[in-house]
Symmetry: C2
Subunit: 129 residues, 2 copies
Amino acid sequence: MPIRMTSQRQIILEELQKSKQHLTADELYVIVREKMPRISLATVYRNLEFLSKIGMIGKLEVGGRQKCFDSDVLGHHHVFCVQCHRVDNVHLDVKENYPSHDMVDGYIIIGRKLEFVGLCPRCQKKTKR
Amino acid sequence: MPIRMTSQRQIILEELQKSKQHLTADELYVIVREKMPRISLATVYRNLEFLSKIGMIGKLEVGGRQKCFDSDVLGHHHVFCVQCHRVDNVHLDVKENYPSHDMVDGYIIIGRKLEFVGLCPRCQKKTKR
DNA sequence: CTCCGTGCAAACGATTTGCACTATG
DNA sequence: CATAGTGCAAATCGTTTGCACGGAG
């Protein structure tokens, strides 16, 4: 089954790669609509789901409400602001000393996710004053 | 401001502790309704939010749709099944060799969350056949 | 007696789906 | 030309909120 590359799929993928950070479905919707005004939000959702399923992009489901999608699938972690629910990338070299189990409690482990929880710069200022 | 302990708050807390695993709001709703049939789902949500805010229980926001709540606040990680979105506890001793930063990219780090992603036993069987 | 907490229903935000139509391979 | 993908609107799911009433302190 070859991947059918529609113009909307193309643009969604391009814009996501161009942005170099994770975006939610409707942030991407706003961006894509500039080039293709008649695209529907449902199509954005369907394509993000599809692209993440075939591994071309990463789906990111951290705390808070909306899922994010990310074209850079590898090698970074995330910080989540407890106050405003903002999510940022962390490029921090973490020595991973996990036991080399690929099986835990009956689960086949296919990945690990390290997530930092904290207070973002903006919310620090808000709290201080 | 003393904590006002209503009967519904009491039961919600008890049942969550009794169950010894994390539950979603409406799983707990079903359980609590057996003892208190007229309780409303909104009350369950409001109390879970409240109890987690004052630190008596833990709120867990991993991948997937629903938030989970957990009376055992400490010392375990979670596995998330990519297929059925089940979440389980992992009691696995992980040597944490993180750099001792408490500040990353402007964020004040207040916590870390390690989450495993995998395929649960049930879904492994489904996939095999 | 004073508020905080409740039940109910309605509102909400994010995501999904049914359908008839379009366009890719 | 078959069938996967689209746009639209309506449906769904989890969660939150406004309001009038009830019970804890």
